[in-house]
Amino acid sequence: MPSFGFSVQPPQHIDLDKNYRAIFDFIKENEPSFQRCIYCGSCGATCSAGNFSQMSLRKVNLLISRGQISEVKNLIDNCLLCGKCQLVCPRNVNTRKVILLIHKALKMPLS
């Protein structure tokens, strides 16, 4: 095969047909308030970690519910668990528990 100097790539879109929900379901089971999120971004706006990283719980929740797990780890890794997000959340999501659950889920064999 000649060296083409480029390669064909699979498309980069979110594919909801092979949507990976295991982590979403795990968190939903252990903390139902997780699925109340309306992605308003209050959490991201107040996030301390957000000031030195891309961390935003809104984004993390989105990624998880769309099964885009690969990007989650390096986002929540910046979380300081300070809990400000919990105080500003208009839907009373138990954010600190959610984050610990995400950490746990990412460690579990299923992911």
Binding site: M1, P2, F4, G5, F6, S7, V8, Q9, P10, P11
Partner: protein, 355 residues
Amino acid sequence: MNRGKQLIWQNYQKEIADDHFFYVRSCIRQNFFPGAEATFLRILKDVLQKDVYDDPDHTTCTGIGYHTDIVPLETTMTVVARQFALMTEKGYSHFIPSCVTSFGMYLEILESWHNHPEVLEQVRKYLKEATGRSFELPANIVHASDIIYKFRSEIAQKAKYRLINRYTGQPLRVVEHIGCHYAKMFPHKSVGGAEFPRVLAGIIEEWGGEVIDYPERRHCCGFGFRQYFIKANRGYTFSSVKKKLDSMQPYSPDLIVTNCPGCNVFLDKGQYVISEQEGIVYDENGYGIPVLSSEELAGLVLGFDPWDIGLQVHQVSVEPLLDKMGVEYEPEKKYLGKENIPLGRPLQPTVLKTI
């Protein structure tokens, strides 16, 4: 035929002049498929007895330079103005570009001139200053494929072959690919609109084929100008081609027809690239899916010699298609030059089978 589509098509009918055409050529088509343009003119002149002018003085429209953003808008506009000037001087007003990118660009520029007359004036000044020429706007500007669409039934009547599989008696399964710039920018300047274009579908159905609709039908072939011309970006082009081919494969098409020179190149060469890189070939016999332009297809059904049309310069071998259609051809003449001088033959790709 689908009722809903008919309703849509009714909203996208455009006027197509029926004689006295000023023809401008396509850079890509001339380089890659010179036979296609020859065929088109032959059909217009010999088969349909139309008056068409092929001007030696016209140049590129700079379309590719424009879309790779190295040529500024004013420059392109003035070059386009020059083409119009040539048309005006030769006493024509029906303008036919062979290239879809040019076609789209002409429409875009005419639109801008229409919305901003001051720009038109400026361009007239530029042209005068640069060349001393002046010009009229074309009364009718359509793409070569529109012409074939207009005369599809005349061609059908004179046709020697139909798009029918002679072994099964079933219509050939044909994929239509419309160049993005044909309708996506100005749906109302097209035949059938941007979502369900009629221009090729009409031809194919008229000539007995069955048009298949597949999920990525409207996706770009992936040319992307700077994306193809720079090697580092070229993955963009062939990833797009692959996406389209993957999406059409379940319908096992016999043929891809396109009205855009660029698309023709990439859908054809793309099958070679993917076969080399991924080991995938998109038909069960391993020959790939032939990709023809509307001009070439017209020539084929009219019974022109495939090697005059220039089907031998396609990477994907057309013989399986010719056999299905029952076209008579001389295999041994495929790679001969003028006066049958032997020119050797191309190498075999590793995966993709060729004849």
